[in-house]
């Protein structure tokens, strides 16, 4: 078994090149000085902001897609994280009647195909919930709904590593339940909540189907929707530039989250911490 299996190594590296090279080339075209998205034409920042009408910065449709995606992601992460953390805390102690149903309801969004979910939301907001209607509010509600379960899973994973004894010790020392949550569990959950923020942010800016079904017009268009509607209509490299900016934003969020996570879990075993973060990065 010590012989290096070269067939496997070649397959793996060919796969990695195949999976990443197209994206790297798409990023490279964003820096083209010409209009082509299929061949290299020098370097420029024309499609980011230098071009006075067509660049991401100056084309209102591209700029508003970027702003709307970021706004939506901010709203979604700020609602989903507290809601999911509370739910995970509550479900932890809830045994017996109703807890099985609640658990299944929590896992269902993870296994429901996005299209089914999006069609349901669309029909809901155009009928019974017509008073909310389509638009930014509906998009935020839709994204929070499928993000929530991920936040709960992450917080639950962290709660499992904390163990019962911490809470019991606090309760034995006379802390009332509110203090157990507020002063003992919440501080320990801060890294998981930071992770929850990152995951809901990433899921939100990557989301296409739900945003598209719940959009109401040009000002509710997100970046993935803009890519979808322009990709086959002879776009300029400004679309590549827009996608590149989004990619940089999500990678920056990941890096930022890594350092926050590291700072918050200082004092814990390095190995344990890295494993926890790796699991998190993979779950998304």
């Amino acid at each position: 078994m010590k012989r290096r299996p070269s067939f496997l190594a070649i397959t793996t590296w060919v796969y990695i090149v195949w999976s990443l090279l197209p994206v790297l080339l798409a990023i490279r075209f964003a820096f083209n000085s010409g209009r082509s998205r299929t061949s290299l034409q020098g370097w420029s920042l024309r499609w980011f902001w230098e071009d006075p009408t067509l660049s991401v910065f100056h084309d209102p449709t591209l700029q508003s897609a970027l702003v709307h995606s970021l706004e939506l992601a901010a709203i979604v992460m700020l609602i989903a994280t507290p809601l999911g953390t509370a739910l995970a805390l509550g479900m932890r102690r809830w045994r017996g009647r109703g807890s099985g149903t609640a658990n299944i309801m929590l896992l269902l969004p993870l296994v429901t195909p996005e299209l089914v979910f999006a069609v349901g939301m669309f029909l809901l907001f155009t009928s019974a919930f017509g008073f909310i209607g389509l638009g930014t509010t509906a998009q935020a509600i839709g994204q929070v709904t499928f993000t929530l379960s991920w936040v709960v899973l992450i917080v639950r994973g962290r709660l499992a590593t904390i163990g019962r004894d911490v809470e019991e010790a606090a309760a034995d020392l006379g802390a009332p339940p509110l203090h157990v949550v507020g002063r003992v569990l919440l501080p320990l959950l801060v890294p998981a909540m930071a992770a929850g923020l990152l995951v809901s942010f990433a899921l939100s800016i990557d989301d296409f189907v739900v945003s598209q079904y719940l959009a109401s017009g040009a000002d509710t268009t997100t970046v993935p929707m803009r890519i979808y509607s322009q990709a086959r209509g002879g776009p300029t490299p400004a679309l590549n530039a827009l996608a590149t900016i989004m990619l940089v934003v999500s990678l920056l969020a990941l890096v930022l989250a890594y350092f926050v996570f590291k700072a918050l879990t200082r004092g814990e075993q390095k190995e344990q911490r890295d494993t926890a973060f790796r699991q998190l990065a993979m779950e998304v």
Binding site: M1, T38, L89, L107, I227, R232, V284
Partner: protein
């Protein structure tokens, strides 16, 4: 007693949210699919089960059986997903196996590179291929230089020379490209968990390397493999954007495109809802399987 209410109070907002927006949204599909329409074909949902009208469901069912309007699309969707899953396994299994077992000092780097696609928007990854497969794109030129396009034309896998003009092979490969990262990670987790000593024991007892692989590794990774397959097959069945970006032709339309066309494009939202219900019923068996795997994992984690 006094401590119990606080846990309930913490869980209630999230559960109410899921009940109102997830469960009721699914009920809205049922109410529209089993509802009626106005004279302008606007759907009129029937929220009361006593008023349900099975007309649209019946129409959707007659559409997806042989001879119906959607039958071809339904069959094509199944073929696409099955072929894409088989190709994904053929690519994903060796890669996951190498990363889990043989990567050595490259392991960390390989893992990062395998996870990286998760952090790139799916639409951007598809868009990247529209750059490369365009008329003068790099991939088109490379495939031409290697004569792969003429080879594919000869064996009937490519119709004409436009890779983005309604080619089955292009859509299937795009599905593989889009979803294979999501298969590799559960495979990696399953293969990484296998105890090396099991493989060594099989070898000591006289199994050939291939024999040890087929009779030890494959059975031990079965659950992870099936979970990975379900994980990528479910979204593929609801996909409409991949065929839209890579082909845009009705020749390669999938069930997702049909539903999307009814619900967002045309006036027949009720038929779209009925079709969504049929799709959900068809996928239910996969969903239940996957739910059971997640729950088993959770119990294992809670027990450990």
């Amino acid at each position: 007693m006094s401590s119990r209410w606080i846990w309930r109070a913490l869980a209630i907002p999230g559960l109410v949210w899921l009940a109102v927006f997830f469960v009721v949204a699914f009920y809205a599909i049922i109410s529209v699919g089993l509802g009626n329409v106005t004279t302008l074909y606007e759907p009129v949902p029937h929220w009361n089960p006593l008023d349900w009208n099975v007309g649209y469901i019946w129409q959707a069912i007659t559409n997806v059986v042989p001879g119906g309007d959607t039958w071809d699309t339904f069959l094509r969707t199944i073929i696409y997903v099955v072929v894409a899953v088989i190709l994904s396994l053929a690519i994903g299994y060796p890669v996951a196996w190498y990363a889990a077992r043989h990567a050595g000092r490259w392991r960390g780097l390989i893992l990062v590179l395998l996870v990286l696609p998760f952090w790139i928007s799916y639409l951007m990854r598809m868009f990247a291929w529209t750059n490369l497969l365009a008329e003068h794109g790099y991939a088109t030129r490379l495939l031409h230089t290697l004569s792969i396009d003429t080879l594919f034309q000869k064996i009937g896998l490519l119709d004409g020379s436009d890779w983005l003009g309604g080619q089955h092979i292009a859509v299937i490969m795009a599905l593989v490209y889009g979803y294979v990262p999501y298969l590799i990670l559960p495979l990696f987790a399953a293969l990484d968990r296998i105890d090396q000593r099991h493989i060594e024991a099989a070898r000591d007892l006289g199994a050939s390397p291939a024999g040890a692989f087929w009779r030890v590794v494959v059975p031990l990774s079965k659950t992870g493999t099936l979970a990975g397959i379900v994980l990528i097959a479910l979204p593929m069945f609801g996909d409409y954007y991949t065929p839209d970006l890579i082909s845009g032709s009705p020749k390669t339309a999938m069930l997702g495109n049909a539903i999307n066309g009814y619900v967002q494009g045309g006036p027949d939202k009720s038929l779209g809802a009925a079709l969504t219900l049929l799709l959900s019923a068809f996928l239910l068996i996969f969903m239940v399987y996957y739910l059971r795997v997640i729950r088993a994992d959770q119990r294992e984690a809670a027990g450990a």
